[in-house]
Amino acid sequence: MQPEIILKMEGICKSFPGVKALHNVDFVLRRGEIHALMGENGAGKSTLIKILTGVYQKDAGQVYLEGRLVHFKSPQDAQNMGIGTVFQEIALCPNLTVAENMFIGRSRGAFVNWKQMNESAAKMLNSLGIPASPTQELASCSIAVQQMIAIARAVDMDCKILILDEPTSSLDEDETKKLFALMHELKARGVGIIFITHFIDQVYEISDRITVLRNGELIGEYLTAELPQIELVSKMMGKALSDVSAIKKHEPPKSDDSVPVFEARGLSSATGVRPFDFSVHKGEVNGFAGLLGSGRSESVRAIFAADKVTGGEVKINGKVVKIRTPLDAMKQGIGYLPEDRKSDGIIDELSVRDNIILALQVMKGFFRPLSRKQAEEFANQYIQLLEIKTPSLDTSVKSLSGGNQQKAILARWLLTHPMYLILDEPTRGIDVGTKVEIQKLVLKLAAEGMSLTFISSEIDEMLRVCSRLIVMRDREIVGELSGVDLTEQNVMQMIAQGGGE
């Protein structure tokens, strides 16, 4: 029996000045279905979603909602017709309570019946199994719970279609499971869910159907059960998979006896990470593994002095140095690509050129600006090297896709020729193709003699790239794995049990 079609988009076209973002794309969503929308960055997923949610106006094509031709003039319009959206970045107010967040902007009059609001919020949270209290301040909930509350808010607005744009990118495994349970619950209620993610495993875990886009065109719609993973990836990338599987971990030079490039003893920072010892050798790629909040990001931030360093001794090539500010670290040849690209990485309104030359420029000093010609040469060189897709050097970096923004930040650090580069989640929220490119680049840099620390939420990615993993749990290093011991099983076990116990 064919389930009822709830949404049908036909021949959707959308162009921006100079770019065809979507070209004749069809999309069908059925009632009670979880439908994954897949594609690399720039494939047109977000554009399609923005048309569906009324953020953009389509140039051509029709949208049918429950068989009726509709036209969304604004996001409000789409919301009123039952299309709820939860974006990657949570768009709630952290300083309000859970209930206030669920009902904000929806009361009819000027007055609020607090009691009734809290009661219905409690009912809602209960029925969806969300572990939060209505009167709790939102900021005190974990990111996963905040995400769920955003979903509850969308669902409560009587939505027929729920769009989840990268909802799991900042969740750990356990939190993701909870979110999936919630999605199943909604599915059973007949909500059609559009699920966008870069995690292929999750697509196979939860979705019923997959629609693949590439370069703004529809590649096809498939039943998840009938599409092997390898084929999905090759459809997204438009090429055979030899490239993806070709990555082989390079063995670092045996250098245990040599002086480490960077060494820390009892390093600690104001974030509360326990004093830890750490070292990295020339040409080595190591990584910090652990769940979200285990202290892996805090540790690398302490190395770069991104947070206030509260203690410990640091040696560069065996010599004791003082690293108190990021600039100190940069001058010692350390580069740091932060976890949160948007808030810590890119300077979004500035041009691609300025973003790329920023770190080098700061290291040169306030009174020694690069000439425009030099800056353009440097930027161009790395745009070519990393294949950054940008219309021009003067384009503001915020108009690039996530993967290209990340590459711009990578270019920024490579331009300073660091001897030790820290990459915290460099592949989060970016497409498979770029992910592979970055992994390859990391190995290439290491082969050329650079030392790197690579952090990722995806363990298999770390296993592929790192030759040594430092495992963290509860803001403490619980162990270290390398060589033959470095297996997914062992990492998991160590995270779960906390090392030697």
């Binding site: 004749n24 051509a60 096809g220 498939y222 084929e231 990021p326 306030f366 600006p369 003067d394």
Partner: protein, 370 residues
């Protein structure tokens, strides 16, 4: 062609202030064709244009500092008129107590007043960058107390600055055909331009204004940069106070540069700068400052009752800000896109049909594979 377009993109933010300026000048031309007429009296150029340049000197200098403060701190300094009043009071006292007034006395007095400006800037800057006080609140302190301090320094009501050199600085130097404040402003603009060209001021200020957290992780200290912009603002205030007091010939602590921060903020906004910080255009602010002066003089010329000038100005600003708002801009862009779509629509429709067929073929073949 592409470089032309790039040039155009770079200058597009100047479109608003320039078009307003042109509109105002046109109104003036319609009112009287002799608007641009420049006459030479006693070897000095006079006329509407020189008067505008002369009248806007202080505002132009202040709007430069305001642009930098706004860009880095995402807020405004509302104490600039008062800072100018204090630093110029110190200048006046130095000159009056110096006995014989030579060019060196004036120069020393000017430098001392600049130091005073730096101290005031450091005070505001410390509050804003190190104590995280909102700029408008931090500068409210001197806005309220500044004129009293200036009066205390004066020691009496409006000390007179009667010496030939001050007079020449405020009006003209014999043998030079351009009024001195115009020259001083031009010199100041050149110094700022050179400073921006030879340092990373722009990159640092913009990076801090757009994303202080990312700027910090790239080795920039946002606190220092914000502090620096307040120091620059202090010097701008001192220079503006110096020009204003020499123009007036006496130090009126109550009325000197009164409410000029409103015009300076307006000049920054008019210049296409976001008052929420980030990228900035000093050129825009300078054009904005001159535009405001032209507006003031236009209203006078149109014989608007001096009491009613402020109301007219308000209406003008409302219209301007609505035109410059993102809402209207988006609307304009949409209209433009639609016009373009009509022109190119026919060809697009032709190729669109073909591609659709191609897509459905790949789609069906893909299904077979699955």
């Amino acid at each position: 062609m592409t470089s032309l377009r790039r040039q155009f993109d770079r200058l597009s933010h100047l479109f608003l202030p320039l078009s307003v300026l042109v509109a105002l000048l046109t109104i003036n031309l319609v009112k009287g064709a002799d608007y641009f007429k420049i006459t030479m009296i006693n070897g000095v150029f006079y006329g509407n244009i020189p008067n505008i340049l002369f009248g806007a000197s202080e505002l132009v200098i202040l709007s430069i500092g305001m642009t930098l403060v706004t860009a880095a701190s995402r807020g405004q300094d509302i104490s600039i008129g008062e800072s100018g009043a204090i630093s110029s009071a110190i200048f006046v006292q130095y000159v009056l107590n110096a006995g014989e007034v030579t060019i060196w006395t004036i120069l020393a007095g000017f430098l001392i007043s600049c130091v005073a400006g730096l101290v005031i800037g450091a005070f505001n800057g410390t509050l804003v960058s190190f104590f995280n006080v909102q700029p408008m609140v931090a500068t409210l302190i001197l806005f309220l107390g500044g004129r009293s301090i200036a009066f205390i320094i004066d020691g009496k009501v409006s000390p007179i600055l009667a010496n030939p050199i001050s007079n020449q600085i405020g009006t003209v130097i014999p043998g030079v055909p351009i009024q001195t404040p115009i020259i001083l402003t031009a010199v100041f603009i050149v110094i700022v331009a050179v400073a921006i060209k030879t340092t990373n001021l722009r990159l640092y200020v913009e990076a801090v204004g757009v994303n202080p957290s990312a700027a910090r992780l790239n080795g920039i200290n946002p606190k220092k940069v914000i502090f620096l912009t307040f120091l620059i603002m202090g010097v701008c205030s001192a220079v503006a106070g110096f020009i204003a007091v020499n123009k007036a010939g006496r130090h009126d602590s109550v009325n000197l540069l009164k409410f000029i921060m409103m015009d300076a903020i307006l000049a920054v906004a008019l210049g296409g700068n976001s008052l929420a910080g980030g990228k900035f255009s000093i050129t825009g602010s300078i054009i904005g400052a001159y535009t405001i002066e032209v507006l003031n003089r236009t209203l006078l010329r149109l014989e608007v009752n001096p009491e009613a000038i402020k109301a007219f100005k308000s209406v003008f600003i409302i219209v301007l800000m609505v035109i410059a708002s993102p809402v209207v801009r988006a609307l304009a862009r949409e209209l433009l896109d639609k016009a373009r779509a009509i022109v190119t629509g026919y060809s697009a429709r032709q190729t669109g049909g073909l591609n659709k067929a191609a897509v459905s073929i790949t789609d069906s073949s893909a299904k077979k594979e699955g």
